[in-house]
């Protein structure tokens, strides 16, 4: 599964998820109210099974008065990495 396919799947399973540009890894944006369900799906769907949270951090954007939470997920089953700033 290449990164394009991966992003397509994520976009399909979670409404509101959009591809994140300018990232060196496959990354999607998820609105904050969809975070929990998106995470659950990412973990539980067999063909995704992102079971490891590699790290999570935050990017502060004081000019826009918001901050992004970044979750880096990894699937030990399939071996793909997904970066999910939301």
């Amino acid at each position: 599964m290449d990164s394009e396919e991966l992003l397509d799947i994520v976009e399909r399973i979670e409404s509101g998820a959009t591809k994140r540009e300018k990232s060196d890894r496959p990354a999607v944006h998820v609105p904050v109210d969809r975070l929990l369900s998106a995470m659950r799906r990412l973990r539980n769907y067999q063909w995704l099974s992102f079971d490891m949270l590699v790290t999570h951090t935050a990017i502060d954007w004081p000019d826009d008065n918001r901050f992004e939470l970044v979750y880096l997920l990894y699937s030990t089953v399939h071996g793909h990495l997904l970066e999910r700033p939301q």
Partner: protein
């Protein structure tokens, strides 16, 4: 979704008061921040019932230096020497992680020679780190002699580093675009000598400590970490591999020249302290294999592809790169604004932080002495936890 946040004060309330004057009461002890086991400044609050551990509450942060914040005002080349002060036993690998993320971001090419040298140095350091860990584990379990044997081998490898890098502990060597200096003329010969010396030494380690019945008793079936739990906690490195998950970035990320060498990913079967012990012992052997395969064929070429005085321009975007250090996955998450060469935020994903929290899952139900075995099998480096 609700998240309950419990403060440390709330956690430190006894779970029950004795109903009967003869009933036992739980009590708390501080293991650390100044304690021989913490090998640095790590505070563990133990909730004990007699000698049985009910709960372990790690309280990190005593060596917090704000490295990530400092990095926001530094150029990539200036960040490199900060990374080797995080996990000082994996200095090369940490250098490599930040170098990789900067190289990806700025599109800097590297060459075969540079990658080979980086791989060689990292593997040498993995051996060194594991040798030191072996000694420290021996000391933690009461066999003080092992400690000095471990240091003896560390010294030999340190001398190789000293010759090429100039430093023995915090090596600032792997730079964006290459390596700081070319290898010393003696390097190849010295490494060969040391590898020939190390092979029987690791067997000696086995005879000295691994086969000891007391060590086996102290480690076998103690602190079993199931693969599911290990993954859920984000454990990496030997801790995860000991639980039977063959997750090694050297195979998966395809960086350096690891795809050209033949080596095995060592996995454990049970996930107890003994597996974590033995995975590291075998990893030393595998690392020696990697070094031996590479040392004879270091390609020719420049060791720096970038001019020093030019700023490194990173286009806007988020970048993440990771390497396998001696303790697990060390990652650097960098957001570039595209305006200056300084990172906007920079986040380090340190293996020890995640590995530390596995102690909360491992420890309950065991004795105080088992906490020692568990902690030393996790091989924590405290400055890396606190950053």
């Amino acid at each position: 979704m609700t998240v309950t946040i419990r403060t440390l004060n709330e956690l430190l309330q006894p779970s029950h008061l004795p109903a009967h004057p003869l009933a036992t009461q739980e009590y708390f002890v501080n293991m650390g921040p100044q304690h021989p086991i913490s090998h640095g400044s790590l505070r563990l609050v133990l909730r004990l019932d007699g000698e049985t551990v009910k709960e372990v509450i790690p309280v990190p942060g005593f060596v917090h230096r704000g490295v990530e914040k400092m990095c926001e005002s530094l150029t990539p080349r200036q960040i490199v020497p900060y990374t080797d002060r995080l996990d000082y036993l994996s200095a090369f690998m940490n250098n490599w992680a930040i170098t990789r993320v900067v190289e990806t971001a700025a599109g800097i090419e590297s060459n075969e020679r540079i990658e080979t040298i980086r791989t060689l140095m990292s593997e040498l350091q993995r051996i060194q780190s594991h040798a030191l860990w072996w000694g420290v584990t021996g000391m933690d379990l009461g066999a003080f002699t092992a400690f000095l044997y471990g240091f003896r081998e560390r010294e030999v490898i340190s001398e190789i580093f000293e010759e090429t890098v100039g430093a023995r502990l915090t090596m600032n060597y792997i730079q964006p675009g290459g390596v700081m200096y070319d290898i010393h003329p003696n390097f190849v010969k010295r490494v060969k000598d040391v590898m020939a010396y190390m092979k029987p030494i690791i067997d000696e380690y086995d005879t000295l400590l691994s086969g000891n019945v007391i060590l086996q008793e102290r480690c076998r079936n103690i602190g079993i970490l199931s693969p599911e739990k290990a993954i859920a906690l984000g454990c990496t490195g030997p801790v995860l591999r000991a639980s039977g998950v063959p997750y090694d970035l050297r195979k998966m990320e395809n960086y350096g020249v690891y795809n050209k060498v033949d080596f095995n990913v060592v996995v454990g079967a049970v996930g107890d302290c003994w597996d974590r012990y033995y995975v590291r012992m075998q990893e030393m052997r595998e690392s020696i294999r990697i070094v031996e395969q590479l040392i004879d064929s270091i390609p020719e070429g420049p060791t720096m592809t970038l001019r020093y005085n030019l700023p490194i321009e990173m286009p806007e975007g988020t970048y993440y790169s990771q390497v396998e250090t001696a303790r697990g996955v060390f990652g650097a998450f960098l957001v570039a604004e595209g305006k200056s060469e300084k990172p906007y935020p920079l986040h380090f994903r340190s293996p020890n932080y995640n590995n530390l929290w596995s102690v909360t899952a491992l420890a309950p139900g065991w004795r105080v002495a088992d906490i020692i075995a568990i902690l030393s099998s996790l091989d924590l480096v405290i400055p890396d936890i606190d950053r």
